[in-house]
Amino acid sequence: MAYTDEDFQIMDSIIKRYPRPRSAIMPLLHYVQSKAGYVTNEGIEVIAKVLQLEAAEVTAVSTFYTQYKPTPVGEYHVGVCTNTLCAVMGGDAIFASLKDHLGIGNDEVTAEGKVSLEHIECNAACDYAPVVMANWEFYDNQTVESAKDLVDSMRAGNPKPPTRGPNKLVTWKEASAVLAGLNDGLAHEGVQAGEPTLLGLKLSKEGK
C-alpha cells in the first residue's frame, strides 16, 4: 500500500509532539499498523525515512515490543489473560476452549481473517477476572461460553461490545490508530467504571 500525502502529514504531526523526533518511533509503529494491520517492511522503511534512521534501527525497536505484529492478525485480535490470577480463575480453560473452538493456536488467525488469538499477560483488570481483551478493549468476567459467543459474534461480523469501552468494538486497524494517539471521538462512550471499581466507594457511602 502506498502512503499518501495525508499519511505523511499525520506522521509529521505525531513527530511534532516530541522534543526529539526519535521519540515518535513507537506511535509511528502503531500508525503503520493502523494502515497495514501489521508492521510491514514498507512501514519500517517509511518510519526510517521520516525519522532519518536506518531501517535496522526501526526494526530493532519494533521487534522488542509484543504489540507490534510482524505478520497480519485478525480484524479482531483476541487476547486471553493467562497470567496466574486469571489463569487460575478460568483463563486457562477459556484459552484452551477458544483454540479448540476456532481451530487455531496461539498467535494464529482464522482462515477468513476475522479472528486471531493470543495468550496475554496481566492486563490490569484483575478485579474483573477472568479477562479477555479484543483489540485491547476490556471484556470482563468471562466464562468459556461467553468467550465462545464473543468470537462467534466476531466471525458473524457483528462483534459484541466491550464491557468497559465504546458502544461498538472497533477494528484492529482502528484501534491501532487510537494507540498512535489519534482521537477517534469515542472517549465519551461506555461506562466510567464497572461495579468492582466502585465497590469501595459504595461501601464507604454505606458508612463502612
Binding site: R20, T84, C122, R164, A187, Q192, T197, L199, L201, K208
Partner: protein, 426 residues
C-alpha cells in the same frame, strides 16, 4: 475497624466523572490554580510535609524526589508519569484513569510547576485502548479550556506491550525511541533522565494524589495513615473472594478488614496464599491477615507493600502452578540486557516445569534457591529480583506441596476446582 476513605475515588460514581465538566463540578483544577500562585519550593515543601510516598511500589517520598531536581541549571526539566501498569495483580491506575483522567493532568500541572518543568509525558501501556481514549480526550479538553498550553504541555505516549517499561529507566529509553532496557544508575533520572535532562518519574497514583493535598493541606493528609505511611491509597482486591474491587483506605488497613468488607473468601473455601503488592512481592499466607498494609508493616513481615495488589488464592489453588506461571511471565518479560536475569529466569522455568510435572527431585528445590541467590541483586533493575520473590516465599511456606508433586508424580490439584465457573461442587 479502619474506615474506608475515598479521596481519589470519591466521585467515580458520577456517570461523567471522566469529563472536564464532571471534574470541575467537584472543584477540579482549583488546586492547580492555587499551586501556580505559590512559590515552587513551597509546593515541594508542602508535598514533603504531607508524607506522600510513591505509589508505584517503591514508596520513595514524592516531595523528596521532586527536591532532587537541580534548580537554576538552565536545562530543560521533565516530568514523566508512569502509567505502564503491568505488574501482575495490579489494577488501580487503569480504573483511575478511565474514571478520572483530569486529576492526573491537574497533578501534572502542579508537579511541573514545582520542579520547573514545561513538559510532562504520560507513558501509558498500550493494551488499554479505551483508557488511552479517555486520557487523550482529557488532554485535548484541557488544552481547549486553556488549562494546558500556558507554559505547561502534557504529551500522551502509548507503549506497546513490554512489562519492563514500567521500570523507570527502561521507560525513559522507550520514550526516547529505543528498546525499553534499564540504565545503570547513577546517574539517577533526577540528574540525567529523559534526553539526559533532570527528570522526575512518578506513578499515576502518586501524581493524582497531589491535587487533594494542595487543596486540603499537608496536615489533612498527615492525619490519615500510620506513623511513616501517610494518607489514603487504593487497595485492589482480586481472586477467590466474594466481591472483588478497589478499596481506598488509609494506609495500614489489614487484609482481614478488607476481606470483611468484601464478604470474605468465596463460600466454602479458605485463604491459602496472597500477594500484598503484586507478583514481585513475596507471598503471604493466612498468618499475615493482621499485618498492617503500610510500607513498614509489610516489610517487617517479610514482603513489600508494592502496588497494593491483593491477589487472593484459596486452598483449591496449586502454589507450584501459580509460581510457575508467574516465572514464565518474568522469563518472557526479561529484556535480555543482564545475563543473570535473562539466563536465570530461563532456568527457573525449566526447573519449575519439571517440578510441576512431578519429574524433578528434591535437590531441584535447593537448585531453585541457589539460582534465586544468583539472580537477586545482580542486574541493572529489579525485574530479576521480583522473579525470585514468589519462588523463595512459596518454598518457605509450601515446601511440602512441592514435595507432594514429586511423591505423586504430578500435580495433586484439580485445576477445574479453582476456576470461577465450577458450580457448588468446587
Amino acid at each position: 475497624m479502619t474506615k474506608l476513605a475515598p479521596v481519589l475515588s470519591a466521585h467515580w460514581d458520577d456517570k461523567d466523572s471522566f469529563t472536564l465538566e464532571g471534574y470541575k463540578r467537584h472543584g477540579g483544577y482549583t488546586a492547580s490554580a492555587k499551586a501556580l500562585a505559590m512559590d515552587p519550593d513551597a509546593v515541594i515543601q508542602l508535598v514533603k510535609d504531607s508524607g506522600l510516598r510513591g505509589r508505584g511500589g517503591a514508596g520513595f517520598p514524592t516531595g523528596m524526589k521532586w527536591g532532587f531536581i537541580p534548580q537554576g541549571d538552565n536545562k530543560d526539566h521533565y516530568l514523566v508519569v508512569n502509567a505502564d501498569e503491568s505488574e501482575p495483580g495490579t489494577c488501580k491506575d487503569t480504573p483511575l484513569l478511565m474514571a478520572n483522567p483530569h486529576v492526573l493532568i491537574e497533578g501534572c500541572i502542579i508537579a511541573c510547576h514545582a520542579i520547573r518543568a514545561k513538559h510532562a509525558f504520560i507513558y501509558i501501556r498500550g493494551e488499554v485502548t479505551h483508557v488511552v481514549r479517555r486520557v487523550n480526550q482529557a488532554i485535548e479538553d484541557a488544552y481547549a479550556a486553556g488549562i494546558l498550553g500556558n507554559g505547561i504541555d502534557v504529551v500522551l505516549h502509548i507503549g506497546a506491550g513490554a512489562y519492563i517499561c514500567g521500570e523507570e529507566t527502561a521507560l525513559l529509553d522507550s520514550l526516547e525511541g529505543f528498546r525499553g532496557q534499564p540504565r545503570l544508575r547513577p546517574p539517577f533520572p533526577a540528574i540525567a533522565g529523559l534526553y539526559a535532562r533532570p527528570t522526575v518519574v512518578n506513578n499515576v497514583e502518586s501524581i493524582a494524589s497531589v491535587p487533594a493535598i494542595i487543596k486540603n493541606g499537608a496536615e489533612w493528609y498527615q492525619s490519615m495513615g500510620t506513623e511513616k505511611s501517610k494518607g489514603t491509597t487504593l487497595y485492589s482486591l482480586s481472586g477467590h473472594v466474594v466481591n472483588t474491587g478497589q478499596f481506598e483506605a488509609p494506609l495500614g488497613i489489614t487484609l482481614r478488614e478488607i476481606l470483611d468488607l468484601a464478604g470474605g473468601v468465596r463460600p466454602g473455601h479458605k485463604l491459602k496464599f496472597w500477594t500484598p503488592g503484586g507478583s514481585s512481592t513475596p507471598l503471604f499466607t493466612d498468618a499475615h491477615l493482621d499485618t498492617p498494609l503500610d510500607y513498614e508493616g509489610v516489610a517487617a513481615a517479610g514482603s513489600m507493600l508494592g502496588t497494593k495488589a491483593l491477589q487472593i488464592f484459596d486452598e483449591t489453588t496449586c502454589v507450584v502452578r501459580a509460581v510457575l506461571r508467574w516465572t514464565e511471565f518474568y522469563k518472557h518479560e526479561s529484556c535480555g540486557k543482564c545475563t543473570p536475569c535473562r539466563e536465570g529466569t530461563w532456568w527457573l522455568v525449566q526447573i519449575l516445569r519439571d517440578l510441576e510435572a512431578g519429574k524433578g527431585t528434591e535437590a531441584d528445590l535447593a537448585k531453585l534457591l541457589d539460582l534465586c541467590d544468583n539472580i537477586m541483586g545482580r542486574s541493572f533493575c529489579a525485574l530479576g529480583d521480583g522473579a525470585t520473590s514468589p519462588i523463595t516465599s512459596s518454598i518457605k511456606y509450601f515446601r511440602d506441596e512441592y514435595i507432594a508433586h514429586l511423591t505423586q508424580g504430578g500435580c495433586p490439584f484439580d485445576p477445574v476446582a479453582s476456576t470461577l465457573f465450577t458450580g457448588a461442587g468446587a
